[in-house]
Symmetry: C2
Subunit: 413 residues, 2 copies
Amino acid sequence: MSALKGACIIGQSGGPTAVINASAYGAIKTALEEASITRVLGALNGIKGVLDDNLIDMGQEDPQELAYMKYTPASALGSCRYKLKDPDVDDTDYKRILEIFKKYDVRYFFYNGGNDSMDTCNKISKFMLKNGYECRVMGIPKTIDNDLEGTDHCPGFASAAKYIATSCMEVYHDARVYDTGMITIIECMGRHAGWLTAACALACAKGFGPDLIYLPEVVFDMDKFIASVKAVYEKQGKCFVAVSEGIHDADGVLITEYAGKSRARDSFGHAQLGGLAAYLANEVKKATGAKVRGIELSLLQRCAAHCASQTDIDESFATGEAAVKHAVAGVTDRMVGYERVMVDGKYTCNIKLFPLEDVANTEKKVPREWINEAGDGIEQGFIDYALPLIQGQTKLPMEDSLPRFVRLKKIKA
Amino acid sequence: MSALKGACIIGQSGGPTAVINASAYGAIKTALEEASITRVLGALNGIKGVLDDNLIDMGQEDPQELAYMKYTPASALGSCRYKLKDPDVDDTDYKRILEIFKKYDVRYFFYNGGNDSMDTCNKISKFMLKNGYECRVMGIPKTIDNDLEGTDHCPGFASAAKYIATSCMEVYHDARVYDTGMITIIECMGRHAGWLTAACALACAKGFGPDLIYLPEVVFDMDKFIASVKAVYEKQGKCFVAVSEGIHDADGVLITEYAGKSRARDSFGHAQLGGLAAYLANEVKKATGAKVRGIELSLLQRCAAHCASQTDIDESFATGEAAVKHAVAGVTDRMVGYERVMVDGKYTCNIKLFPLEDVANTEKKVPREWINEAGDGIEQGFIDYALPLIQGQTKLPMEDSLPRFVRLKKIKA
């Protein structure tokens, strides 16, 4: 494969995570060091930054300052939830992207996002190929949802999981200090896959976790739920429940929608969720008369850089680095993911490449065998899977004992 | 002062904090080492444990395991919200306490709590004195609310403040990733004093904090609030707001109660709060049409041991230790607090004793001069006050990269 010389664009898309910038930094740092890459451009707000010619020159950033990206949560380049149309129906956006690529002689495109972003990558790659414009396109995954196919796990999941497990262990203690009755319901993110909610089980493994855990992988039955909470509460005087925002009934109707919440959907057709914990708390209160507290982990769970997994940070950095190195070596049309290899019973993680089209728009769910038969608890298989991923305390740099996050100059290209 | 030999009781009361156990451990460890103290008893669920003769023998705990108390959040001995009656009206409880004290030859009573607990301490002390029973009574403060009179600050405040400031810095990043409009409202605890909400300003000092901060020290005007949020939003396309759960209108009506929330009150006459962020988010949404997200920090802010201030942990331990040492030396009827001494411009903290009756049932508010004139921001005076308190990352022991919290045997006395 001949060396392909040209600029690269790096963009970020979708909901942010605590470590998405570690991946982006891995790509940016490596690209800045690669001789074949003549210029490293950051697309502000993902593909919208390309369409709007809103690009910044990463080479103009101070390298020492840039290094803080590795530990800064959320998308430092800005994100978007922009869905490219089917190019056979409307190729306006694609033509515009090609125009921008030509303008800056972009030969490498790295897109850092979830399954929707892999779809974007895939469509751009196919369009460039069809139009005879040589450009290597690589997807760098991120998603707290951990729902991308192929890869063993997704960058961002472990840090959110670690925060959730840690917070559960702490809330467990707080919610039991009085000798009066108390029911606590904690709500985790995860529209269709229950990976994050399952992470509450890591707290159970330490003896300080929820009594009941409900994932969207299992149909949620309100009567059964109330009965189970009652049973635990009557026995212990306390009950600690974890629910996924995505739990739904047998007809697929979200329990959140029971609360008469807005059915407004975002541009990917996802329903806007939230408020489930408060709704369930109210239902449980009506049914039991107990004091019930609903806690929604909300944005906190996906931006808690201070509680990130150093394993996740390092692996995320490695995906960005690998995306650039493989692209320079001639690879295109691939998402950089992980392969778990157990060496003498110990977890190790290898980089593995996956075809974009296999990953785009997929959703990997928690295997049914990792959920107990009753559908209200998590089995050891999940603990064995998740525990190695959350290892290591973040090396987040501090200033006055508060996080030292990156400050980019964002100089326009 | 002659040496007073006998057993001691240690109890915990009121809402837990991330470091209340550091104080209790300071007292327990020191008491176990003191020759004058013949036996160290833990009262389960505070004064209720005394009334119910529900005491555990702290000397039977494994010392190495006990040491984990220093980093375990919430009240390891259990808590209560039990208000002793005025002894002139009904002295039943006091007689029962005296009976238990006599049964176990209790000569030292250490009570670890907030202003209500200092009231309990004070009443017990007066009753024992009146009845000629020699017993030294010491209050060991704790409250995330930071509202105790006399002491420079309260054990527990700094850790909650650090968690709040850190979370604000993280949410700030998450809430700005899209180029679409977004308003975020974060709700902090603090019924009558705005110390915790003011802690959001520590994030502002780092450039990543709320645009508007509302404390209960200033009358909350809904129209003015909406106008201020609108103004920021129209200018930036984003607006980040922090509110205290205790904000109220000119008539003293809590804004939470506007939402038709339960006016149920606990046994101290406090209104049960919560749900303010969601309520305000809805009001702001109606007024602006923007996407608005309400985040309630809920219990997370008071039990986040993983983000505790090591300064707070060490100082909290020192209050427990000092309570025992001073009591053994002859002191009684005092709360152990802090005095700030600046040495060459650097913060140092000395232990100082305060008469219980000066502290009982008081509420120290955020000084008006630390709040800006408009009543929607925090001045540098508060930053200078709070920043030294949050210094140092917790040395929380970990197991599998999750917190290793204490497991007490709780052997009955």
